[in-house]
Amino acid sequence: MRISVEEVFETLGMTLDHHFDIRTVTLGINLKDCIDRDLDWLMKQVQARIVEKGQLLNHCADALEQKYGIPITNRRVSITPASLLLEPLPRKTITAVKLAKALDAAAKKAEVDFLGGFGAMVQKGMTAAEENLIDSIPEALSQTDRVCGFLNLASTAAGINMNAVVKVGHVIRDLAHRSEKGIGCAKLAVFANVPEDSPFMAGAHHGVGEPDYSLNIGISGPGVVRNVVAQNPDCDLTQLSEVIKRTVFKITRAGELIGRELAGLMKVDFGIVDISLAPTTATGDSVAEIIEAMGVGRMGCPGTTAALALLIDAVKKGGAMASGNVGGLSGTFIPVSEDAGMIRAVRSGTLNLEKLEALTSVCSVGLDMFAIPGDTAPEIISSIIADELSIGVANNKTTSVRVVPVPGAKPGSIVHFGGLLGSAPVMKIITKVTSAQFIQRRGRLPSPILALRN
C-alpha cells in the first residue's frame, strides 16, 4: 500500500517543525591491536585509523542525509578506553596528555564533532596506568577540544570505588579551574554501570566486549513527543502513554533504518539504537516541556517524578517494539544547561539539586550539565557523585554525573556556555555542613545484595 499524504506530512512535520533528527551517529573503533610500548608508533596507528574511518563516516552520513531528508546532526567516534592503550607506557602525565592531543588532532582531521573514550573502568580498583590517566584528565581535557572523558566509578556488581570517587572530586575541580567558565568539565562524565555502546557524549566509548567496529545511533525528538502530548490534552494517562509509545516507535524505526543502512555502507557491524530523548536549547526541543505539556505546572514541582517515570516507560516500550537493537543509555536526558525548560525551572526555584537527584532515580543518565560555584570543595563534589552513583548501583541502572564548577560564580547567577551546551543557572549547594569525613573514609562501598544473583 502506498504511503498516504497524511503519513508523508506527519514525517515531514516532525523534521521541519519539531526538530526530529538523528542526533548522532557514533562509530565505535577498537584500538586494542594498536597497544604498544612505543608511544609514537601507537599514536601514528591510532590516528591513521580514526582519520580513515571518521572521514568515511562523514561521507556516508552525508549521503544518507540527502537520501532520507532527515538531518544527521553529529558524527562522532568512540574508542577503546584510553587507559588500556596506556597500560604498557610510562606512568607519566605527559604520556597520557600526548595521547589525548593525538586523538584530538585525529578527530579534527576527520572532522568528527567529538571523540569519546579517554577514560577507564575503575569500579573496583585502579591500575597504575588508570590512576595515571585520571591524574592527567585536568591537563588532557583542558588542552584539547574534541576529546571526551568517561570514568566508570561504580557498578551494581562491584559497588562504588570510593578511592576513585575522592580522586575525581579533585580532578573535576582542577579541570574546572583550567578552562574558561569551567567548561572543560562538560567533556567529562562519571558513571555507575556505564553502557559500553552508548553513542552519546561525553560518556561514549567502545567497550572491551565490542567488535572491531560498531555503528551506534542516537535518535532524538523531544519536540515531536511534546507536540503529540500537547495535542492530547484530555486523554487519561494510560492513553497518553499509548500516544507517546506510538510516536517513539516511529522515530526509532527511522533511526533503525538509517543506522542499519549506514553500517552497511561502511561495511561495519550495526551496534545499537539509543532511544534516549535528548533535548537541545532550540525552542520546543525540551524534555521539561514534555512534562509540562502533560499537565505538570513547572518542571520540578510535585508530580514531576511520576510524569517523568511515565514518559521514560513509554519511550522504552515504543522503542523496544521498533528495534531489536535498542541499547546504550536509552533513558531520558535531563541536562540542566541544554534544555530551555530545565533552565526556566531552576531559575524559578521549582527545580533544585535535590529534586534533580530524585528525578534521576526514574530516568537514568543522572545529574547532567549542572553548574555549581567554582569554590565548592572537592569533598562536596565527591559526595554529590557518591549519592548519584549509589542510585545507579542500588537500582541496577546507569547513572552519571557531569558537573561544571564555575570559577567565581555564585548561586543563582547564570553562566552562558554557548552553542549546544547552552547556559546554566548556578545551583545552590549545602556547604555549612558536609560529609567530608564520610567521603575521606575511602575504601569500597560494597555492592548491594541484589548483585548476588547467581
Binding site: E6, F9, Q66, L257
Partner: protein, 96 residues
C-alpha cells in the same frame, strides 16, 4: 541487453499556494532527468495545498543531490516548498 537498474521510489512533497502549472512544471523537471512519475496525490490540509508524488529515480540521469537542486529551483520560481526523500523512510515509520 544492458542490465536494468533496480527501481528506487522516492516521495516528492510540495506545499504552498495552489496555482496553475505546478504538476506540469514538476513533470517537465522529472522528464528531463529520466524520472518516471508513479503516483500523484494532492489535497488541502489546514488551508495549504499539499501534494505528494511518488517517483522512480532508478533510471535517473542525475544524482539525488542534483535532483534536489533542480527541485529547489522550481520551488523558488513558484514559491513552493519541495522536498524529496526515499520512500523507505516512510515505510519504516508508518508500516509494521
Amino acid at each position: 541487453m544492458p542490465e536494468q537498474k533496480a527501481s528506487q521510489i522516492c516521495i516528492v512533497t510540495v506545499t504552498g499556494q495552489d496555482r496553475v502549472g505546478i504538476i506540469a512544471k514538476l513533470a517537465t523537471t522529472m522528464a528531463k532527468a529520466n524520472i518516471n512519475i508513479v503516483d500523484v496525490n494532492q489535497k488541502i490540509m489546514e488551508d495549504t495545498f499539499v501534494m505528494t508524488m511518488a517517483v522512480d529515480i532508478g533510471q535517473a540521469t542525475m544524482s539525488m543531490g542534483q535532483i534536489k537542486k533542480q527541485l529547489d529551483q522550481v520551488g523558488r520560481q513558484m514559491a513552493l516548498k519541495i522536498t524529496i526523500q526515499d520512500e523507505s523512510i516512510f515505510k519504516a515509520m508508518h508500516r509494521i
